[in-house]
Symmetry: D3
């Protein structure tokens, strides 16, 4: 790449976040292709260079300036203990893009009921730094050992407690572990290097990516709704709709009727449709959306 062509270096998370990240960029209008063997995904924006990196290492490379911006979890930002700018919270109703809780957990039948009880004990975790800081805040001294995986099966033989991320708690339950305390809540973020943000070209580039990623996520939980209403019923129908969004009202070929078009949260559909029908709505049609910028 010549010095004259500016370029943005973007970190794409390898592993459990990878597939959803690719899907998120597709919804945002980017064609991000990850070929099986390469660690340099291609994207259909010649000014962006992607690199595939494990989320655990991402914040370190953004802080060092090796990357301009990246997608990673809040947990690994804190574990790396470095400074990065958080540009967009990317919580989304897709696999691995939801909220995870990092918890301290021990066997259901163990005598450990609070973090204080772990004084002098052995704790296994993939997040050694975060766990040590948490214990220090509670004034607890314990041996924190790095776990190369399968942390949840370590108690009681290989450790008395673990610090581990959990989404639904089902893995903890399956291993008969009990939550003692919560270290933090985390979800996926778009982060950037401070010097990159200070560069106007890079800042605008990153903000456009942030806008489109958020627009794609916003659209996930929403749908479009069109219905036909008699003019006389219009006020009753509109009263049912959530206030925050102005509905479109259009003429129909029959002058006594109008068409109403609006965007609503998908989870309200099952309550709203019966009400709209009762209020006189007819030909109620729900249609899908790609992006929303509120």
């Amino acid at each position: 790449m010549s010095a004259s062509a500016p370029s943005l270096r973007l970190g794409i998370p390898k592993g459990s976040l990878q597939e959803t990240t690719q899907k998120l960029f597709a919804h945002a209008g980017y064609n991000l292709r990850i070929s099986g063997r390469s660690y340099y995904p291609t994207i259909d924006d010649a000014e962006v260079q992607c690199i595939l990196i494990r989320p655990q290492e991402m914040a370190r490379y953004v802080a060092q300036g090796v990357l301009d911006c990246a997608i990673t979890g809040l947990d690994w930002i804190l574990e790396n203990d470095v400074h990065v700018e958080q540009l967009a919270d990317l919580k989304a109703p897709w696999p691995n893009y939801g909220v995870v809780r990092w918890v301290m957990a021990s066997k259901e039948d163990s005598p450990y009921n609070s973090v204080k009880d772990l004084e002098g004990r052995r704790i296994a975790t993939e997040a050694v730094g975060m766990t040590k800081r948490f214990l220090a805040q509670h004034g607890v001294n314990a041996l924190v050992e790095f776990s190369w995986g399968a942390t949840e099966v370590k108690p009681p033989v290989l450790a008395v407690a673990i610090a581990e991320a959990t989404e639904t708690g089902s893995t903890l339950r399956a291993n008969r572990l009990r939550v003692i305390d919560t270290l933090m809540e985390s979800n996926t973020q778009l982060v950037a290097n401070a010097r990159a943000i200070a560069d106007p070209w890079k800042r605008e580039k990153i903000e456009t990516i942030a806008l489109l990623l958020k627009a794609a996520i916003e659209a996930q939980g929403r749908v479009g709704l069109m219905l036909n209403v008699k003019r006389d019923d219009l006020d009753r129908v509109i009263a049912q709709l959530p206030a925050l969004q102005r509905p479109t009202v259009s003429a129909l070929s029959d002058p006594d009727w109008v068409a109403v078009n609006t965007i609503i949260e998908e989870r309200t559909v099952r309550v709203l449709i019966p009400k709209l029908k009762a209020a006189g709505g007819q030909g109620i049609v729900e249609y899908p959306l790609n992006k929303i910028v509120l």
Copy 2:
């Protein structure tokens, strides 16, 4: 679950109907999750409890009141010979949600041409009750044996005829079987227990489910159509559209033109688009729908 929180017990069919049922609920706006090992699917409505049951047994459990409502085929309702309320016919253009015919069939080269010819013969079927009643209606005595599967390969060695469900007839043809008579036609239904329907809270709950499932099925065969038309051509264009649905007519920034928006059956698109174009339609756009409540 405490006594104070009302709850609806819903039977989800295990087996060939399972995947489409899950998809149908997704289209209807419910997140029905069936995990590999559990027989208790989760659904994002805290007032509904799901249980995975084979369609063959479903009607029995609805009739006994173990379930409030359930999805199963009309065939297995009749085979169980019990009373349940049929709330919605869920015929849909999806795998296993179409119409099946239960037929009496024998080998192509067999001497059995009508149900009368089966007097005293051995018949294999998964629906012993339904087959016995059908034979009785025709005054025929035969030995009806329960078949644990692969019924279509039993003639001529293991039975002289079979009573079996068929969708396209291709399995019958592949086994060189000839249809002698038809016992019934069946497709998937939403059924409920009579006492559940008598309870107003349960009735409303079940009817909302029925409304949304049907709205999702309705949307399957339909699409939205938008096109721009000169005001002078509007009548000619509208004359092409099916009468049953009022089209929306909206202004464009150019006052000589209007936009027409309507919902049509997808199978008419290939006939309609050439006609609309010939009548002066421009910028004809077809878009997908999620749900329709007519």
Copy 3:
């Protein structure tokens, strides 16, 4: 099929084009089903008979009149050296429906830099006819051998050069091959037999298929965009939109606002949305399309 029922014989390409062809027909509104074993796909139009044939042989059968129309690549039309009518260029942003280049290539470190250097050498290719004609145009005599596949691995042991199709050039690079010259560019076409086109019934049938296939392809690169705008901002917003398509402008329940609805190319979305927002657009919603007839 009786003589009185007219019927159109349509060739569907077997192999790499097959899956996308099936998807293209689905987008165009046809249900084209290819069962694993049969070479006679079914389609939900009783007047069309499909047959699955390798694209290499397709043009030959269309020219002979065995088929009325077919989908195949321009390259294999030329290789067969026969006359067929080209009715629609089906270039689409889908796997194997993009543009391929047929190139003459040799090893990176070979001494062959132009087609002239191949005089008297051995060349491997799947398109023997096209390659021989190309060499003849350049006045070169060479031994052109038919390759049964994996042509790109033949140099330098089994041939000094190859004539081969390439989409991105990555297979050539992976085999350290260098392009010497370009024979042609090709992509998928809808072609017909001249006598079939002369038959009015067949012509209309084929043209409807062509119209719907192209409408499905047009919709691929485009999306719908709706936004709310203050009447005062309307001109500024409309000035941002591409000129070629008239946007719909509809009233909202709040008389100071209007709704704008338009179709744009998807690749412009990421530039347009920030501009529309800056110009006063609110509630910007992007939605998907099925078909467009411009």
Copy 4:
């Protein structure tokens, strides 16, 4: 098949026993091929005709004489309540060829502790006949309902207890079920029709199959062992070997040494090899076997 060519009709069990049955015949020296779609497996013995049948129905067809012999479980012989000749017990260390126990089970926290407690209750099972007879033997009246599968998830909602087959008990434990009583133990058998056994040609044919199947199973748990021993140590070494099998003792090129060759049970290898080495064995070699006829 003409009347002059005698033929044996052999039932092959479809379903969970199928794969191991095929493997067992391969070990016995038969090439039994089951093609995906056909219910008539081929075998490389022109005098044997195979047919694929569910084990649940097998004994019925053997008893009726439709089949001469077949492979099925003892449980389904009893459930069918028919008379067949048991020719070989085919218990083998292969998937689904081990021993299963049919047990009466209820929820861990249920009040049902013996079969007597089930008086008047509802019991789900795939083996209705066997369960009814078992209850009758204990003087218990209960409602026994046929279960179409997934029986183990039925308590407590759909039944209070179940009668079900279990191999390791892990499915019962996973569903928090407790065993109340045992109905029977079962494993795979070679069975024959009494009239077929009375026919000398069929009897010899069936007995050869029985001999070879058992020879293949015998070989599973055994291995060959060869070792070199000084003549002086021979008695000590032979004293370590199990008495039942005479070892071969051969000369070596060095006259002070002999080679010992014997067949032992594989599970004793890990105990025997250290002992043989301690007793002076050298060059101890274990080798695999295909068949053993003791």
Copy 5:
């Protein structure tokens, strides 16, 4: 590779023969590794260079001397119409290493009953040269068209007859084709270039490969058999054994008994074991073999 290190260039067939070829070399004691992307398989003999080539092209490259030796089918040797030395017939009881017949076939209900009836007709085949020579031998003129695959589905629409390879005839039957005549029988061969054979180093190298490949194939159909016999029964037992192979007779620790060890064809086992048992054989043990050089 330097000029001083002699090397043998060996062609490995790509496609349907590939997997079995790899297995055959493994049985012969070579580790032939074919990595997914490379056309240069590695082998654990530094003096052999492998190259992966379609069997259709193999004989051409051996005849040209590009390869020293190769594995390919007799059919493609003849189709290429070139001279190669046939060193070993590799017929083996493994997938695609059996005998195939090239037949002329037409639709079951077609009027073509002999090759004479094809005068002036269109015939599709992958082996154009072989088919033309066969027709010429019968004095028949016909249009032979190259088929790119799926030849068996071409009649009656795309050709009146085909020349095609068949192993069991099942594909012909599935397509309702009837055999008119047979062109040839073919199976896999080890072939070499005449000049390579004239080079003593290459000749010995190729002959070792031939010896080991054949030894591996010989072992496929045979097994070892050991049994204990009373000295008095020895003659009766040996009389049962096939004459061609001398059995080993060894002493047992009990002087009245001897051990007999022999190699027999596996398909005779099921006849032989009952006879050996009847003749006094005890502890009959069958064991597997890797290679046999008779």
Copy 6:
């Protein structure tokens, strides 16, 4: 487990070594079953308790006495920098049981040619401790960063060099990396805790496991060979056999002939068989082995 039943705690490596470890135990005569979800594999020795642990952590747990013995790589023993007893070298011709080299590598076109050149640079590795010690031995100061995986793609962007394990070097080549230096060679080991070895019961238990694992590995590279020889040719034939193993010489029924039986290294077979044949060997048979204790 009660205090009176002694038990051995054995660590089984999770991950790339897992499948081969399971296969190795099977060859050694143990049935080690690893079910998909459990970290406690079962083994058919009631006195052994298995636990599945990542090889990286194994030596730490053996040194701490949490495990009595375990299978892990020499590399991770050194990385953990703890004391464990090495009981058996388990190098085997199976996937991931061969020798790996840990190397320092940098980009092919980088200026780093020796470990000295890395002074002050950033190095990525999964083995931080081992790498730091290696650099210290060479008097080099560098920033060694822990890599969570895909280390080989880090140069040049994310690190200037890496310390990484390589088996064939192909991953290094594919990433255009050049080896600068070698840190160590490693392969799989059976290791034990020193206190466990001091316990006679545990010591014998571990040594039996070591003996059987090694016997299974020894058998991998060897085969049995039997041949018939005329007494006159015996000396010539025996002269061809490797000295280290005494062949068995047995009488045949024909007194002029003897049978020779021996064990040889499989990789010598392709040289030996032609020689044995030339020396007069007949009926040469190679057969497989399970275990060898030399």
